[in-house]
C-alpha cells in the first residue's frame, strides 16, 4: 500500500507560507533579471511574457470555456497594428492607443464569438483558423493603401519619466529594455489576476459548466449567449494586450508578423504548460519560448545529428518531435505533470464548508480522522 500523502489545509499558515515563498522567489528572480541582465536577455524574457499573456487569454477561452480558437494571432495583430498606426500616423499617446486597441479587440472578439455560439469543436477551430489565414491579406492591403509602405513602424515605447529610466544617452537601449520588461510583466500579472479572479468567481463556475455540458449549464440558469461572447471578448482583449507589447518592442511590423504560426505557438504554449490550470499557460509559454530559443541557437552546431538533419534549420523539426514526445510523458502539460507528482507527497485539503456539518457527518469525519477530509481526489488517482 502506498504511503498516504501529507495533507495541508487550504489557507492554513503553512499553505500561506508556501504561497508567499513561491511568489517571493518569482519576484526576486524578476528583480534580479532586471538589475543584471543584458538588453538581449531582457528582450527574450519580454517576448516570452508576450507569448504568456496570449496563452493566458487563450486559456480563459479554451481551457475554462471549451471554445477553441486558432485565430488569436489576429487579435494580437489588430492591437499591434492599431497601436503602430495611431502612434505613428496620428501621433497618439501609446497608452491611449492601448485603450483603443483593446476596445477594438473586444469588439472583434464579440463578433467572432457570435458564430462561435453556433459552431463547436472542429468547426469552430476551422473558422478561427480561416480568420488567422485571412489576416495577413488584410494587413498587406492596409499597409499598401493606408501606410503606403511595406512595413509599419512600431510604437517605440519610451520609459515614463517617473521611473527614472533614461530616454536618451548611453544607457537608453538598456533602460528601454528594462522598461519594456516591466511593462510586459505588469500586463502579464494583470492578465493572470483577471483570469484567476474570473475563474474563482461565479462567472468562472459558469464558464466551466458551459465547457463541460452546455445544455446542463443552460438548465442551471447560465446565460449561454452572453457568457460565451463576453468570454471571447475578454480573451481577445488579453491577446490584444500581448500584441500591443509586440508593437512597442519591434522596430517594424509587416503582414507576416502575425500568422497562423503565431496562433499555433499560443496553442502549443498553452498545451505544454497545461490547459485549464491557472499558471499553466505562463509556465508553458516560458518553457516553449526558451526551448525554441535554445534549439535555434544550438541545434545547427550539433554534429551528432544524422545525415541531412545536420544540414538545414533543424530547430522546428526537433521542436515538433519534442512536443509529440512531451504529449506522451505529460498529457496534461507541465503543471499537470508536477501536480501529479506532488500529489503523491502532499495534498492541499480544501477549506471545509462554512455551514456547520450535521451530527451524522461529524461522526463520519471523526471515524475517518481529521486529516482525511478532501483526500478522495488524491486517492482516486493512485
Amino acid at each position: 500500500m502506498p504511503t498516504r500523502p501529507q495533507a495541508i489545509r487550504e489557507a492554513s499558515p503553512l499553505h500561506w507560507a508556501i504561497r508567499v515563498v513561491a511568489a517571493g522567489s518569482i519576484a526576486i528572480v524578476a528583480i534580479y533579471l532586471a538589475s543584471s541582465a543584458t538588453p538581449s536577455t531582457l528582450g527574450n524574457v519580454t517576448e516570452a511574457c508576450t507569448l504568456a499573456i496570449a496563452a493566458v487569454g487563450l486559456n480563459l477561452l479554451y481551457g475554462f470555456n471549451g471554445q477553441i480558437s486558432i485565430g488569436h494571432s489576429v487579435f494580437a495583430g489588430l492591437a499591434a497594428f492599431t497601436a503602430g498606426y495611431t502612434v505613428n500616423a496620428w501621433e497618439w499617446n501609446p497608452y491611449v492607443s492601448l485603450g483603443v486597441a483593446l476596445a477594438l479587440c473586444f469588439l472583434l472578439g464579440v463578433v467572432l464569438g457570435l458564430p462561435a455560439l453556433r459552431l463547436k469543436g472542429p468547426y469552430l477551430a476551422l473558422v478561427t483558423l480561416a480568420v488567422a489565414f485571412v489576416w495577413p491579406t488584410i494587413a498587406a492591403k492596409f499597409l499598401d493603401q493606408k501606410v503606403k509602405a511595406s512595413t509599419l513602424k512600431g510604437t517605440r515605447l519610451k520609459p515614463l519619466t517617473w521611473t527614472g529610466l533614461s530616454v536618451k544617452g548611453k544607457d537608453a537601449r538598456l533602460d528601454r529594455a528594462i522598461f519594456l520588461y516591466w511593462t510586459a510583466i505588469v500586463i502579464l500579472l494583470l492578465a493572470y489576476v483577471i483570469v484567476r479572479n474570473l475563474r474563482k468567481s461565479r462567472i468562472g463556475r459558469a464558464l466551466v459548466a458551459i465547457r463541460d455540458n452546455e445544455t446542463a449549464a443552460a438548465v442551471m440558469g447560465v446565460n449561454l449567449k452572453l457568457t460565451k461572447t463576453i468570454t471571447f471578448g475578454i480573451s481577445a482583449v488579453i491577446a490584444g494586450a500581448s500584441g500591443w507589447i509586440t508593437a512597442a518592442r519591434l522596430a517594424t511590423m509587416d503582414e507576416n508578423t502575425f500568422t497562423i504560426l503565431t496562433s499555433i505557438r499560443y496553442l502549443l504554449a498553452l498545451f505544454l504548460g497545461g490547459a485549464a490550470t491557472l499558471v499553466g499557460p505562463v509556465v508553458g509559454a516560458f518553457a516553449y519560448f526558451f526551448v525554441d530559443d535554445y534549439l535555434k541557437d544550438h541545434a545547427p552546431d550539433w554534429d551528432w545529428l544524422p545525415g541531412p538533419l545536420s544540414k538545414g534549420p533543424v530547430a522546428p523539426f526537433l521542436l515538433g518531435v519534442l512536443v509529440i514526445a512531451f504529449v506522451f510523458v505529460a498529457p496534461f502539460g507541465l503543471v499537470g505533470f508536477v501536480k501529479d507528482q506532488v500529489r503523491k507527497v502532499v495534498v492541499i485539503a480544501p477549506r471545509p464548508l462554512r455551514k456547520a456539518p450535521s451530527s451524522a457527518d461529524q461522526e463520519q469525519h471523526e471515524q475517518a480522522g481529521p486529516d482525511r477530509a478532501g483526500l478522495e481526489t488524491g486517492e482516486g488517482r493512485t
Binding site: I68, P115, R118, L119, K120, G121, P122, Y123, A125, L126, V127, L129, A130, V131, F133, V134, T137, I138, A140, K141, Q145, N213, T215, A216, V219, I264, L267, L268, F271, A275, P308, L309, K311, G312, P313, V314, P316, F317, L319, G320, V321, V323, I324, V327, F328, P331, F332
Partner: protein, 306 residues
C-alpha cells in the same frame, strides 16, 4: 461574362483536388472525431517522396502510385504509433500531436530534400503543352491537364465510395462511424478500422499532393498550406462527417475561388477584391453557410443527451 464557362472549368479541376483532400479529412473525422491538421503536410511529404522516386529514373505515374502506397503505410503507422496512444491520454493531445506533426513533417521535408524551400521541378501528370486542350466554344478551352485531374479525382472518389457501399470493410467503416461501441459488439475491430481510415486518408492525400504539384509544375514546402486550408474549408462546408459533402464542398469552393479570382478584374471595385482575397471570400461564404447549418450542408448534427 464571356469567360464564365472557362473559369468554371478551371475551378472544377482545382476544386476536385480540394475534394480529394477533404475526403481524406472526412474519412478520419468520421472514425475518430479528430481533425487531422497534418493532412496537408503528410501529402506534401509523400509528394516529395514521389519526386525522389521519379528522380531515380522511375516513371512519374509509377512513382506517384508507389508514394501513395508508402503514404498508406505511413498513415497507418502514424495512427497506431502516435494518434491512438495520444487519444487515450487527453482529447487535446491528439490536436497537439497533429499540429506538431504538421510542423515536424514540414521542416523535415525541407531538411531531407535539397532546395525544397525554393521548389523542386515536378512534371505534370498529364499532357501539358500549350496546345494540349479541347476547344469547347469560342472563349472556353478545356486543357487536358484539367480534364486529367478531374477524371483522376472522379475515379478515386468512385473507388472510395464503392469501398464504402459495396465491401464488407466499407460496411465496417460505416458502422464504426455511426456507433463505435455497437460496432465493436458486433465483432468489428474498431482499432483496425481506425488504422485503415488513417492509412486510406494518407494514401488519398498523397495522390492529391502529386496532382497539386503537377498543376504547379513545382513542389515546395509551402505548396500545401492554402490547399489544406481550402480542403478543410470544403470539408466544413459539406459537413465533416459526410463524404458526399466533401466532394460537393470541394468542387464548389474551387469554382467560387476561380470566379472570385478572375471576375473582379472587370469590376470597378477591383481595388478591394483582388486575387489574394479569393480565399477570404470563400471563407465568408462558409461562415454564412455554417451560421444557417452549423454541421455543414450534408453533415448530420448529433442529438446530445444530458
Amino acid at each position: 461574362m464571356g469567360h464564365l464557362l472557362q473559369y468554371i472549368l478551371n475551378g472544377l479541376s482545382k476544386g476536385s483536388i480540394y475534394s480529394l483532400l477533404a475526403l481524406g479529412l472526412v474519412v478520419i473525422y468520421r472514425g475518430t472525431g479528430h481533425l487531422n491538421f497534418a493532412q496537408g503536410e503528410m501529402a506534401l511529404f509523400a509528394t516529395f517522396g514521389a519526386w525522389w522516386i521519379n528522380d531515380h529514373g522511375v516513371p512519374l505515374w509509377i512513382s506517384v502510385v508507389l508514394a501513395a502506397i508508402f503514404a498508406f503505410a505511413g498513415g497507418g503507422i502514424i495512427e497506431f504509433g502516435l494518434i491512438r496512444p495520444a487519444g487515450r491520454r487527453s482529447p487535446l493531445a491528439v490536436l497537439v500531436v497533429t499540429i506538431a506533426l504538421f510542423q515536424a513533417l514540414n521542416s523535415l521535408s525541407g531538411l531531407l530534400f535539397e532546395n525544397a524551400g525554393t521548389g523542386l521541378p515536378f512534371d505534370s501528370l498529364f499532357p501539358n503543352e500549350p496546345d494540349d486542350f479541347w476547344r469547347i466554344s469560342d472563349d472556353a478551352v478545356w486543357r487536358y491537364q484539367n480534364i486529367g485531374v478531374l477524371l483522376t479525382v472522379l475515379v478515386i472518389t468512385g473507388l472510395v465510395f464503392a469501398l464504402f457501399q459495396k465491401t464488407k470493410l466499407g460496411l465496417a467503416m460505416r458502422m464504426v462511424a455511426n456507433n463505435a461501441e455497437s460496432a465493436e459488439l458486433s465483432g468489428v475491430s474498431t482499432r483496425r478500422i481506425l488504422m485503415f481510415s488513417w492509412a486510406l486518408s494518407a494514401g488519398i492525400g498523397a495522390i492529391g499532393g502529386a496532382l497539386v504539384a503537377g498543376i504547379n509544375t513545382n513542389v515546395n514546402v509551402a505548396s500545401m498550406f492554402s490547399v489544406f486550408l481550402l480542403a478543410a474549408a470544403a470539408a466544413t462546408l459539406g459537413g465533416l462527417d459526410s463524404p458526399i459533402g466533401a466532394i460537393v464542398g470541394g468542387l464548389s469552393l474551387g469554382v467560387v475561388e476561380s470566379l472570385v479570382q478572375n471576375y473582379p478584374k472587370d469590376w470597378p471595385a477591383s481595388t478591394y477584391i483582388g486575387a489574394d482575397t479569393a480565399i477570404a471570400v470563400a471563407f465568408l461564404i462558409i461562415l454564412i453557410v455554417l451560421l444557417v447549418r452549423p454541421a455543414g450542408l450534408f453533415g448530420s448534427s448529433r442529438v446530445e443527451r444530458v
